[in-house]
């Protein structure tokens, strides 16, 4: 199924002082001929909205990370050995970023089935990541390391937990794109692209957090 190409976007004035050609309106009074459509939101607005959302999520994590870095710098820091399973979950997450791109490529080539297969794989890998993270938590519990055990355990659970919550949101987005048949405001390709941008962001964020937790101990 090829993406639908629709009419030209609502023009947004970017030129300086050149007056644009006259439209059919008569100053907004009465029912003008020509004039604009009812609420048309250009596609790029959805991408901008997504980027802004990612900025705010980034600020949230940077607040946690800065708290972590400052606390870590104090003398009584006891580094926490990172559960080995995290290397596996990281590999799963990175792989899922590759599979999501594969899915999008299939969609662009017109292969609906290919898209669904790879998109489904991505979603399952996302769930596997979450499962693996949960297992890491269980392993820590078994070793007697809980949220409140010491500052480094607190930050570990906090950072991995906050990230996990956002990944759950990402999995829901992936699932939504998977099951949805009808698209009104955006196309399926655009929705898939936006979900994948969010997914890559979560992947990169996790790699960053893991390196933070592992390095400089």
């Amino acid at each position: 199924m090829t993406p639908v190409t629709t009419a030209e976007e609502l023009h947004v004035g970017h030129g300086g002082g050149t007056p644009p050609p006259r439209d059919g309106g008569n100053g907004g009074r009465g029912d003008g001929a020509g004039g604009g459509m009812a609420h048309s939101v250009p596609l790029r607005a959805y991408y901008l909205g997504l980027s802004l959302g990612l900025v705010s999520i980034l600020m949230f994590f940077m607040a946690l990370v800065s708290a972590y870095l400052v606390r870590k710098g104090r003398g009584d820091w006891q580094p926490l050995p990172v559960p080995q399973i995290l290397w596996a979950t990281t590999a799963i997450l990175v792989t899922s970023s590759l599979t999501v791109e594969k899915a999008r490529k299939r969609l662009a080539e017109g292969s609906r089935e290919g898209f669904r297969v790879w998109w489904g794989v991505t979603t399952l890998l996302g769930l596997a990541f979450l499962g693996g993270q949960w297992m890491a938590w269980m392993q820590l519990r078994e070793a007697g390391v809980f949220l409140a055990t010491n500052p480094s355990s607190s930050f570990f659970y906090l950072l991995s937990g906050a990230h996990g919550v956002h990944v759950i949101g990402g999995v829901l987005a992936l699932a939504a794109v998977f099951v949805r048949r009808q698209y009104r405001r955006v196309t399926q390709a655009a929705a898939a692209e936006m979900a994948s941008i969010y997914w890559h962001f979560m992947d990169l964020l996790w790699v960053f957090l893991l390196l933070l937790l592992v390095l400089g101990r």
Partner: protein
Amino acid sequence: MTTQAHEAHAHGHAHAAPTGFIRKWIFSLDHKVIGIQYYLLALVAVFVGMFLSLYMRINLVWPNMELPLVGTMTPEKYLALLTMHGTIMVFFVLTTAPQSGFGNYFLPIQIGAADMAFPVLNMLSFWFTFVSFAIMLAAFFVEGGAPISGWTGYAPLSAVGEIAGPGLGMGQTLWVVSIVFFCAASLMGALNFITTLIDLRVKGLTLMRMPLTCWAWFVTAVLGLLAFGVLAAAGILLLLDRHAGTSFFIPGGLVISDKLIPHSGGSPLLWQHLFWFFGHPEVYIAILPGMGVASHVLSTFARKPIFGYRAMVFAMCAIGIIGFGVWGHHMFQSGMNPYTAFAFSLLTMGIGVPSAIKTFNWLGTLWGGQIRFTTAMMFAIGFVSLFVSGGVDGLFLAQPSVDRGLHDTYWVVAHFHLIMGVAAIFGIFSATYFWFPKMFGRMLNETLGKIHFWITFIGVYCIFMPMHYSGMQGQMRRYPDSTGIGFLSELQPIQQFITYAAFVTLGAQLLFLLNFVWSLWRGERAPMNPWRATTLEWIIPSPPPHDNFAGNVPSVYRGPYEFSVPDQAEDFLPQHLTPAEVGAQNGKK
């Protein structure tokens, strides 16, 4: 990734007018309804906040009285009133009405759009705010009552729980949960505002032709997007300290009520840093929309273009950017490195520069203008006066050495009330008197409005100016009762004067409420453009139809403040008139 290469345009979805009471007035997607919902929420909140402050002022003069709804006043109850007063006013009034209220209503219209970019997200933001407010109010009714740790919620007091005082159990938890909801709501709103402004402007409306109200809402939204995530993080950490046994903020060795608190390793300073990193941009969020409204209203009623439009834009952006670098000035007395304090101090004073640019430009706008003293105009002029008063006394606090004596005194109380509790409120009042006709199709009564203005204007100066003196004399803030303190007893007459002034001023707000409610039903019918203003909201009916421009989207041909342009028939040129239409208008005269 080529995002714009393929289909560039989302299939335009017709935003059909909803039917049914619930879809129309409760779970509405219409930015105008949502804007009014926010405004009404803020209106309820401001009266709750004023009621709390009234009780505070009564206690300061007549301590430990028996009062309705509160019982016998105690110091702890005073602290609870103070905490909730600050929280409700800052979040549910000053962060809500100017941005989410007026911004939601007028940003889309002023840029020629039919609605916000994401109407469903908009509706969600309001209902998250509503839930946040409900949770906050619930804190009054749980066992132990409302928290006593101030709107700033400093740890460890806010983190250790009930043992440290009433309201610090369930009340404090509800406070934190409410704040986290509020953060989510604000982030969603900020995202919506920025996207709408960037992507939904009509043809001809370049960024530098936007009304200054839009610029203010834009900068405010950027600040909100960057700041509220940090507050959310702080809130999560606080909840974990309170309920999961962590010690992000709680140091070791605390003994409270003879009990050793089983936490250790945390830092109260961490809370302060996280809170104020949010908290300082927050106060610019509270004031910037008021600055936008002041510029807009002053220009309209002086019949003159705003003096220095570009400088005004630059100044708002500068205030926003520098505003992220000054949070340490709330922590001068925390034992910080004096060189760090020096840096924060320089930046804080530096913010005075763009603020002064704006002030001089407002004065320049008035200078030589044909001023029409409507109530909206008077509140805008009052805004400038109070912004100067509240801003200048901040410069004193910006010196760490001076702050040493003034920190936590009534000087600080005077400062933030003048700039937030008054100037920002005057911005809201100006916007109300200005835009009420458009929103509700009725005029507010100008006589009642002028009485409201004068009593309020004189009243707030009577309330807050004397606080500078009492602060300098050592009157501490957040103290419920200073009557027993020797060196402060001579200040009691001032406390009394302030309380009486507060009674009168608060009473005048009832006049406003009366005017508001009465005019909704009995006000004179408003024409389309009662103020002969230039921006796009004045070319649609009062009140506007569901999709604002009724399908007849205008284009913009000029800037927003073309007043008294030479050799024109009219003293204002609306943004949407084509050059040919202007020519025809001139030709007739």
